[in-house]
Amino acid sequence: MTMAVTSPRFRENARRALADAPLQQALAKMKAGFVDKRLRAVERLPEFDALRDLSRDIKDHVLVNLDHYLERFEARVVECGGEVHWCADAAEARDVILALCRSVDARSVTKSKSMIAEEIGINDHLEAHGIEPVETDLGEYIIQLAKEPPSHIIAPAVHKTRDQIADLFHASHAAYGITERRDDPRALLDDARQVLRRKYLAADVGLTGANFLIAETGSSVTVTNEGNAELTQILPKMHIVLASLEKVVPTLEDAMTILRVLARSATGQEFSSYTTFATGPRRADDADGPEAFHVVLLDNGRSGMLGTEFQDMLRCIRCGACLNHCPIYASVGGHAYGWVYPGPMGAVLTPKLIGIDLAGHLPNASTFCGMCESVCPMHIPLPKMMRHWREREFAQKLSPPRHRAGIALWAWFAERPALYRFAARLGVGVLGLIAGRRGRLKSLPGAGGWTVGRDFPAPEGRTFLDLWARRDGGGR
């Protein structure tokens, strides 16, 4: 489902999410499901940090030679009998995909998981033109039935509880002759599989994302745990790969290096269950495969990040580790962020894609705790880039006027030590008097943000520097 942008309402979204009991129940499972598993996987691989450095270097090399590797990739795709479509923005990519589908009179399109597909809103576009998109990743399948956008970049239905999924399947699967409500995970999986098998066989086009595009072979690489990418790309007449341009890496070996950090960072697996390669359409002596192979290569603003303070973001391999380890994400879940990409990576990428005027909350809703950067397999300095967005916001005067005025007032004093000392003496004296012997304040005018959930520890009553001056006799 194409996402309406609700990022400007981040605060309300977050408040609602915090009060949503099933959501909180689902989010509470993330630590054991992702954080602990990643840690164990990393501890089992002594060279993990060396691989991170190598992976970063590979992508950095690609980013400064992006044109070269993309042209090389295209040449190889064409040699293999495929075609590459360069798309500057989402609308162009939607048009190209629709035209490709129409060229084979497609009625249904199976899809393996792709965040770029969410970014360009391809499902709604196809549906509006009478073509049925069918999500084949179990998580995507669930949220497609629920008519919801994904809340996580690798676990799109992580916000759903088993009970909610059982209800959803019960309501939706009757049309396929499955009438019993089952809530055992295995049974739910079997039901989905039964429905999806028919869809795979009926599909005219298979649309996949790509974790990598390999310049030396013209291949796309997809990792899944369900094998759904295979069935999506092999069975239909046409295979369309939808990928953003920074997915390209020079060689198969480079892809292998990054794959070693990808699954460990994402799910704590050493390797995903399936790593699927696609190189061109079916050849004369191939047993199976699509008749046509197309790569839709999306820019959508990414080339504009090259050479800027946001270039490092293009190293991102969409593992989701930053989401899994983010205490903000763990509190409010992905939908609160209000667009396709949530969590720390979304806080950096979303302002570029939909504008800082709409996405301003995202890079601001961070304590800069640094957890995301510490687990990022590609060493992306996420907090630093969130701060860069705040700088752009500040420069464009987009941050809240009250907040700006507060900073300006504070700064005026902070830059005048003598006046600052005077104001500090007065301030802590008054606060100390108000608090009296209680040592804390239950409420404080203008500090409702603090006292809504916390007492305010009162100052002792004298500043350190005043007390020190008495001991020190003045200092310098």
């Binding site: 605060r11 977050a14 408040r15 915090l18 205490p327 903000i328 509190s331 601001n364 961070s366 304590t367 800069f368 705790c369 640094g370 957890m371 950067e373 510490s374 701060r387 700088e391 752009r392 916001e393 500040f394 420069a395 941050s399 907040h403 700006r404 900073i407 504070w410 700064a411 004093f413 902070a414 830059e415 030590p417 600052y420 500090a424 608090a435 009296g436 012997r437 040592g439 804390r440 500090a447 409702g448 943000g449 603090w450 809504v452 959930g453 916390r454 007492d455 305010f456 520890p457 009162a458 100052p459 002792e460 004298r462 500043t463 350190f464 520097l465 007390l467 020190w468 200092g475 310098r476």
Partner: protein, 259 residues
């Protein structure tokens, strides 16, 4: 006792705005620890704040002016020490980047960065302090402030020194490395999320069985202490320096002197 030996390292205390305003006792505890370890301690009068409120609000120009002021005030000392991983991290990890386009200022910022340390790691790693002569009867949980942990490498040093405190036992704190939800102005800009995060923290503190929560940053401590107090949990919060200096006899953070 003030050190007068001219060969002793000359240390400037960057006391931090929160300690200056809210809890001078932490500043005096820092001075005592540094003097006990043989340093000559001075406190430059021209200090106000490290500039993080402006820096993290995207106001780079103001952050630069404040950074320049700090660099000037702390010139010439052998070391600059702060009882805070966050403020020390600002001076050490972020000041140089503010002057990327000004070679002279960049050199001064690099020079300050090289001399700048967080208090407890300075005592342990630079001065070689392995034990303190202090007593604290209690079970203590230690929260790793984010900047101290991830920008300044403060993790084992406070625990090593706390183990030498007579009467003190350290409790395991689940999620010790997870942010408490303070985050400077974050805590008032996004209070719902911040309160949720600090509530997770106080629940873990309670589960640890500790009667005292320690940390190396007053921002985290005021946040956690304020939530502990609001929830009516009987856990006290103190700065680690107060315990290490044997100066934890007074009221805890947010605690009055009415008993």
């Amino acid at each position: 006792m003030a050190i007068t030996d001219k060969s002793a390292p000359r240390v400037a205390l960057f006391v931090t705005c929160l300690v200056d305003l809210f809890r001078p006792n932490v500043g005096f505890a820092a001075v005592k620890l540094l003097e006990d370890a043989g340093c000559r301690v001075e406190v430059p009068r021209a200090q106000t704040c490290c500039g993080q409120p402006a820096y993290n609000a995207g106001d780079r120009a103001t952050a630069r002016r404040i950074a320049a002021q700090v660099i000037a005030a702390f010139e010439g000392y052998d070391y600059v020490v702060a009882p805070s991983g966050s403020c020390a991290g600002m001076l050490k990890r972020h000041f140089p980047g503010l002057f990327a386009d000004d070679a002279a200022m960049k050199a001064s910022a690099d020079d300050l960065a090289a001399r700048c340390h967080e208090l407890v790691s300075f005592l342990h790693d630079v001065l070689g302090v392995t034990a303190v002569a202090a007593r604290y009867d209690g079970v203590v949980a230690y929260h790793d402030g984010c900047s101290g942990l991830r920008e300044m490498g403060v993790k084992r040093q406070p625990r090593a020194l706390l183990e030498s405190v007579a009467g003190l036992s350290l409790a395991e704190l689940e999620g010790a490395e997870t942010c408490c939800g303070f985050g400077g102005t974050f805590c008032v800009k996004y209070p719902d999320i911040s309160v949720r995060m600090v509530s997770d923290k106080t629940a873990e503190v309670a589960a640890s069985g500790a009667d005292t929560l320690l940390a190396g940053d007053l921002g985290c401590l005021m946040n956690i202490a304020g939530r502990l107090s609001r929830e009516g949990r009987p856990v006290r919060a103190r700065h680690v320096a107060e315990v290490l200096a044997g100066m934890a006899g007074g009221p805890a953070i947010g605690e009055g002197d009415e008993r």
